[in-house]
């Protein structure tokens, strides 16, 4: 770390255009993907990765920005999925109308859990409580009888169309997913550059100090937990309609662990970290023709190595390398580090 002088106008312009170029690249890549390969399998994996990405951004705001790790993210997806599915079966609610219900349900559950667990206890106990909640949620769903479909779960109706576009076609579903992914990235970006994001980071860095500058940390922690629930709820509904079937096993402990793994590997504080994490986890085995078991061994090992060696995730690690390589050039243009 070194002291840097004020950024010059040129430096600021370079940073802005780099950011815009990065965003453009990501958008174009995501939109163009189906044209590069017409494979059904590719799109199917891409959709799964996209759904994971949406929920990962919720986790990234919660953990990356605020420093709270939740093991209940998969369970919150379940809350959203079950809410939407049960409402669809009970009152015939369509895909689009079920989204707000699902998101609010997940946020509410997160809120209740947060009110009880975020005020009193330490970060480690919070993780354990969310873990326990995840396990509890599964048990409740399994024991819900025909209302929740018990262990076998519930079937989900087809998604239907929007503006005349049939979303049951996989390519169109893919674009729907991309839409929500981009929206998630945008929301995360706006939060991270806003005063609210700064507040969350302050809570992460030093909660005691945050309180002494009049930040009501309890309120913000609960609120951001609910926010992560919103993302999870949305992802849950999308996933329900993609798989056309939901069951408690989807929302158990292991999926939550796996989500945490994805966000850590990608880098929870980087803007494209969650996206990268999901893409790596879902596509690497395809690209390298890895057996899923071998792939998971690799991921477990990767997570351990990343945490021990690259605390800002893989993306962070690459950026660090890039920065070190281009340090001289940047000093000339007076860019400040992020």
């Amino acid at each position: 770390m070194h002291v840097v002088t004020r950024p010059t106008k040129l430096g600021k312009r370079i940073r802005f255009s780099r950011g815009a170029a990065g965003a453009a690249f990501v958008i174009v890549a995501l939109l163009a993907a189906p044209w590069i390969t017409h494979s059904y399998r590719f799109l199917s994996i891409a959709i799964s990765a996209g759904i994971a990405t949406i929920t990962l951004y919720g986790l990234a705001i919660l953990f990356g920005q605020t420093g709270l790790l939740s093991m209940a993210q998969a369970a919150f997806m379940g809350v959203g999925a079950y809410t939407a599915t049960i409402l669809a079966r009970a009152i015939g609610l369509g895909f689009w109308s079920s989204i707000p219900f699902a998101m609010i349900a997940s946020a509410m559950v997160a809120g209740v859990l947060g009110v009880f667990s975020l005020r009193v206890i330490s970060a480690q106990y919070f993780i354990i409580v969310t873990f326990a909640f995840g396990a509890l949620f599964s048990i409740i769903m399994i024991n819900g009888g025909s209302f929740t479909g018990a262990a076998t779960g519930l079937d989900v109706g087809p998604i239907g169309s929007v503006l005349g576009i049939n979303l049951n076609k996989i390519r169109n579903f893919y674009y729907l997913t991309v839409f929500f992914v981009l929206a998630s990235i945008l929301v995360t970006y706006l939060i991270s550059i806003s005063p609210y994001g700064r507040t969350l980071r302050a809570i992460r860095e030093n909660e005691l100090l945050a309180r002494s500058v009049a930040i009501v940390t309890d309120f913000h922690k609960i609120a951001v937990f609910m926010l992560s629930g919103l993302f999870a709820g949305l992802a849950g509904v999308l996933q329900a309609h993609f798989l056309q079937h939901i069951s408690p096993a989807l929302y158990e402990t292991f999926p939550s662990v796996y989500l945490a793994l994805m966000v850590m590997i990608g880098g929870p504080r980087m803007l494209y970290g969650p996206l990268a994490g999901a893409i790596i986890i879902y596509f690497l085995p395809e690209v390298l023709h890895l057996d899923p078991v071998d792939a998971r061994i690799a991921y477990g090992a990767a997570l351990v190595m990343v945490i021990m060696l690259l605390p800002s995730g893989l993306i962070g690690g690459f950026i660090d390398l890039y920065r070190r390589a281009t340090a001289r050039a940047r000093q000339r243009y007076g860019e400040d580090p992020e």
């Binding site: 005063p195 100090l209 309180r211 009049a214």
Partner: protein, 239 residues
């Protein structure tokens, strides 16, 4: 406009840190709170500013009972404190550190505030050039300055400085003393908790001496420092 501490007690698991303290703090006189290690000085600050709730006693600020209120509420009411360990938001930049406190400054006091932007505060503590440095990488003296800037960004009426001089060289103490005098002349109440008798005598108009959680002396520095009780408690120390 003042702070009244009456009968304040704090016990931790059977250890009595404060055994009933009464202090009046006014904004026009710089108050020094001194005492040997373990006399309860920092506990007093912690209890008054809301980090802990007292076991007994009351704290009244501007006529309102603030006993047991959480730290964030007390900060909002205009009492700020700096920490002994030079606490900062270590992963954020210097300017973000001050900015985040500034974001949460009291709406009511913003109208009458002497400062219009966090930049002025950075200027005041001499950290303008380091604005983009990561707070965790700052040398100790600078981190201290940042801590004070963060406090000031909450637009306090009363400022508790917990051992502001500790760990600073004589060269660094000069600007700190000047800064405190400047803040006082701006109308901000200051209460300094410290050991450093030179700084205390130079700055404070009134002193309170604590020992084992009780007040053993109070008054003008010259009187207090010559009090035999006080000398006894500081046996061997250079007053």
């Amino acid at each position: 406009m003042s702070l009244r501490i009456s009968g304040l007690q704090k016990t931790f698991d059977g250890v009595v840190a404060l055994a009933g303290v009464d202090i009046d703090v006014t904004l026009d006189k710089i108050l020094g709170i001194v005492g040997p290690n373990g006399s309860g000085k920092t506990t007093l600050v912690n209890v008054v500013t809301g980090t802990f709730a007292p076991t007994a006693g009351h704290v009244t600020w501007e006529g309102v009972d603030i006993t047991g209120k959480p730290a964030s509420a007390i900060a909002r009411l205009g009492i700020a404190r700096s920490f002994q360990q030079a606490m900062t938001f270590s992963g954020l930049t210097v300017e973000e550190n001050v900015q985040v406190a500034w974001d949460h400054r009291s709406r009511r006091r913003r109208m009458r505030s002497l400062w219009t932007s966090p930049d002025e505060l950075l200027e005041l503590v001499g950290l303008s050039d380091a604005r983009s440095s990561i707070a965790g990488a700052l040398p100790f003296g600078n981190a201290r300055q940042l801590g004070i800037a963060i406090c000031l960004a909450t637009l306090p009426k009363l400022l508790f400085l917990d051992e502001p001089g500790a760990g600073l060289s004589d060269a660094e103490l000069e600007p700190l003393t000047e800064l405190i005098k400047q803040l006082h002349s701006m109308g901000i109440g200051v209460c300094i908790i410290d050991h450093n008798m030179n700084m205390i005598s130079a700055l404070c108009h009134r002193l309170v001496v604590l020992d084992f959680g009780t007040k053993i002396a109070e008054g003008a520095p010259s009187a207090v420092l010559n009090d035999p009780k006080v000398r006894e408690v500081y046996l061997g120390e250079d007053l």
